[in-house]
Symmetry: C2
Subunit: 228 residues, 2 copies
């Protein structure tokens, strides 16, 4: 699905240049369930944004379903993203003036699905993340963990081929976190959705088939603590 | 320092009323180090906002340093808050157009401390949360865990009598999380700052002297897993 080779990213803040990613090699195949850990500031979100076609690398190459990303223009990137990728942002990025169900329905309406159908499917997905009772709340009427679950539902509502989740259980108590991991497992096992999870939680990493770590801007594959 | 009795909070969303807090009794004394755990959506942030004078209860009473909160007007609440309370928000709430050091310096400039001094103290505090190398970055140039540490530095820069922290290690890897807990321990032991931490992380709770849980809108004191 995704193939990164020598991917690098540098930023400039004023006169100072920082090389955040230094040469990332990583393949994501259909059905993978991969965790990525690493220190705060090590570049995990930067990497996931590049994988999600939300940002471009400054060095290296990436292929999405066999096509070179640098050969695609912004519209093509945007289409690929909308059709195939579900993204859970570290800071959720819900639209503040829409309710939970409207937020989750949005990717469906972008695909031309009529509003009633979209809202129905949105509410079904919200039930799956135990948010069925707050569908009419706006984000500022939801707790942190509830907002996180709405963001997860929105990423999954289009049944994407690839789910990229940036610390998706960070705001959840251990029990609710387990429910979410169980949902990811199910989607991965039953629907073959490839899942890449950035996490600081070793318990989450333990439940993934493969584990990786971002150290000094490079990916190292670590042994899976438990083979599934 | 703080004394809550029978504190309740209800919200209305359209025609539906929800009683989130149902009768919270809780005392916070100088030098306490308390953790509060509970399910996502159980009311922890709601409770902390009330304790931090950012919100008012709908039932019950609260005293701050012996004074009844309901007898204080908004200016008096605001003064008490600025002088005595440091608050780390679950969503950080940094000002987007200021750098890390400007964000941390802000509470000091509010107290009339001149800008140069305030920025110096801010940068010293940023060093203490291992953010010394990113002082000129704005929030959108920082990782999630870096933003969280800036929010922590801002809450501590005025040496408040009471630190209220809403999931302060949620975005941090285990090592960085340990550094932050060590800092809280030091401030509590050496400067006598009372610390109340909402957390989903049992390891964080284990390092607190007292532990509480919010269940069905009420506080239950649980046994400290380790006495210090
Ligand atoms: N727009 C930007 N300009 C400059 N530097 C940036 C920018 N965005 C991120 N950085 C820097 O890049 C580094 C990596 O950031 P990133 O958000 O990818 O980290 P992370 O591994 O996700 O961290 P966390 O675990 O705290 O979320 C950080 O040191 C950050 O300061
Ligand atoms: N402004 C509001 N209007 C209506 N309901 C609200 C409002 N703010 C919060 N709530 C509801 O109050 C409940 C408690 O919210 P709170 O943010 O205190 O939970 P929490 O324990 O901090 O959860 P988390 O661990 O997910 O951060 C939630 O069920 C939420 O939906
Ligand atoms: Mg991140
Ligand atoms: Mg909360």
């Amino acid at each position: 699905l995704l193939s990164l080779s020598g991917v690098g990213k540098r930023y400039a803040v004023g006169p100072v240049q920082t090389q955040v990613l230094k040469g990332v090699d990583l393949d994501v195949k259909a059905g993978d369930l991969l965790s990525i850990m690493g220190e705060s500031g090590s570049g995990k979100s930067t990497l996931l944004n590049i994988m999600g076609l939300l940002d471009r690398p400054t060095e290296g190459a990436m292929r999405v379903a066999g096509r070179d990303v640098s050969a695609m223009n912004d519209d093509e990137l945007s289409d690929t993203r909308n059709l195939s990728i579900g993204f859970v942002f570290q800071a959720f990025r819900l639209l503040p003036r829409m309710t939970a169900s409207e937020n989750v329905a949005l990717p469906l309406t972008y695909r031309g699905i009529d509003r009633m159908q979209a809202l129905e499917r949105a509410q079904a997905m919200l039930k799956k993340v135990a948010m069925g009772e707050r569908v009419d709340h706006r984000p500022d009427q939801l707790s942190g963990g509830q907002q996180q679950r709405v963001a997860i539902a929105r990423a999954l509502v289009t049944s994407p081929a690839l789910l990229l989740a940036d610390e998706p259980t960070g705001a959840l108590d251990p029990n609710t976190g387990r429910e979410i991991m169980q949902l990811f497992h199910e989607l991965n096992a039953v629907e073959g959705i490839a899942v890449v999870i950035i996490t600081h939680d070793r318990e989450v990493a333990r439940q993934c088939v493969h584990n990786a770590e971002l150290v000094e801007g490079r990916i190292t594959r670590t042994a899976a603590p438990t083979a599934v």
